[in-house]
Symmetry: C2
Subunit: 147 residues, 2 copies
Amino acid sequence: MQLLLYTDYALRVLIYAATHPGEPVAAATIAEAYGISADHVAKAAKALTRQGLLQATRGAAGGVRLAKPPHQIRIGDVVRFFEAGRGTVSCLQAGGPPCKIQPACRLRDAFARAGEAFYSELDAVTLADITASGAGIVRLLRAMPFG
Amino acid sequence: MQLLLYTDYALRVLIYAATHPGEPVAAATIAEAYGISADHVAKAAKALTRQGLLQATRGAAGGVRLAKPPHQIRIGDVVRFFEAGRGTVSCLQAGGPPCKIQPACRLRDAFARAGEAFYSELDAVTLADITASGAGIVRLLRAMPFG
């Protein structure tokens, strides 16, 4: 049961933005701090901006910053947005290959309930909860790669 | 949040076996009934046999059948087995790429709790529950592809 790397990166962008309030930060700076792909980070930042979670500023000193306070950003909502249409099993996937037995099979209901339980846990967690040790995160991001 | 196609196929093999008790059934017959890859079905059946959920018989009339009654097979256990090591986020994946901020970040705990909630729902469901409409499933499997 794996999330997209894209969802993973979106969460890291939000964590960076929450722990570096103030000036907008470039996607390249975030990517470098984590040691991950700048292209993927830029793509995730763009999607987060479209979703209204980040504010983007253009220009030389441009970049992104949180559009809302961290305690107003629910992790469940972020994951739901990035994982939209990716059901756990093929019968729950938007446009997925049809399964012959679906009308009589109760697997779909069981996985739908399990998915709800999963998101319900994440809905109880905000970006503020995740970054409660903000200073610790900032220190780790400034450290040399895995040093 | 997607399961492996392999996990999906394993569940379909178990559903077939539960709704066709008695004679062993060949992986090719199961694959044909669902209209899915015979190689993938054979691979899933082999793993289920290793896990002690199917019994395999060799020879011309060989095949697989359930090794336990359907009410003793928990869907959560099957999914856990096939998804072993595939954490939702990279910091929960066995041998996944390290993330610099992990020691201070609470994302991992949140996703661990969400994963537990997901499996806890599936632990409450057995193969017998999934196949409660057994006759309906058998009828759909016998129908022409999506006819």
